[in-house]
């Protein structure tokens, strides 16, 4: 399978994603690993929750993979996104892209995370000591 996408409610790791990129022809693999930051605009984040509209989120993730494959010579691509409750330092998302050359892998990986943040129906709620907010909800 060229494109592998998953939503998981258990900890993510590149080691688990790795087999999805196995490809003797690949020269360059670029990974993006997004983690939960301990601060947002100076406020201390205690934990966060991701919720997803699952069937559409999976479809949109796959669409990102297909768009990347149309624009760059992607050999393999994997996207794992976490859902549920995450602690500081936990991995929220992993995107791995294997291409024959590194510039393509960088471009495709950056496209994937940029697009994911714009289109995939996943919502993030950050919990502070004094409340919680839905991230990016308001302008």
């Amino acid at each position: 399978m060229k494109i592998t996408v998953e939503l998981l409610d258990t900890p993510l790791s590149t080691a688990v994603c790795q087999p999805a990129l196995a490809n003797e022809g690949a020269g360059g693999i670029v990974w993006f690993v997004g983690t939960v930051r301990n601060q947002t605009e100076g406020r201390t984040v205690r934990r966060l929750e991701f919720e997803a509209y699952t069937p559409m989120a999976l479809a949109e993730l796959r669409k990102i993979g297909e768009q990347a494959c149309a624009r760059w010579p992607v050999q393999k691509m994997v996207i794992h996104h976490r859902i549920g409750t995450l602690a500081i330092g936990d991995i929220a998302v992993i995107i791995g892209v294997a291409c024959p050359h590194r510039a393509e892998a960088f471009a495709a990986c950056q496209f994937a995370i940029d697009t994911l943040k714009q289109t995939v129906p996943i919502w993030k709620k950050e919990f502070f000591d004094d409340g919680a907010v839905w991230v990016a909800a308001h302008p």
Binding site: G34, F50, E51, A52, Y53, P55, M56, A57, A59, H81, A92, V93, I113, L116, K117, Q118, T119, V120, P121, I122, W123, K124, K125, W134, V135, A136, A137, H138, P139
Partner: protein, 92 residues
């Protein structure tokens, strides 16, 4: 929760709208049952939601997904469609 709105003397249909994230908080519930006049476009549904729940107007964006795909404003919603309110996403 049920809201009924009719704008025209056309057939009505029952519609259930699903809400995630802050949209669910705004509705106060993950589902909203509507009886709507047909044909119902996505644009008309969005207008109705914003008029009934002004908090939707304050969001950075608001989209509707029909059958797990982003819908265009002109798209007509028909009986049996899975209709989901998509407030600003924040994955990654």
């Amino acid at each position: 929760m049920s809201l009924i709105f009719k704008k025209r003397t056309l057939d009505n249909m029952e519609l259930e709208v699903i809400a995630y994230g802050i949209a669910r908080d705004i509705l106060g519930h993950p589902h909203l049952k509507l009886v709507v006049a047909t044909p119902l476009t996505v644009a008309a549904l969005l207008e109705e939601l914003k008029s009934r729940y002004p908090a939707f107007r304050e969001l950075a964006s608001l989209a509707i997904a029909v059958n797990a795909s982003y819908a265009t404003p002109e798209q007509v919603i028909v009986a049996g469609d899975e209709v989901v309110i998509i407030p600003p996403v924040a994955g990654g």
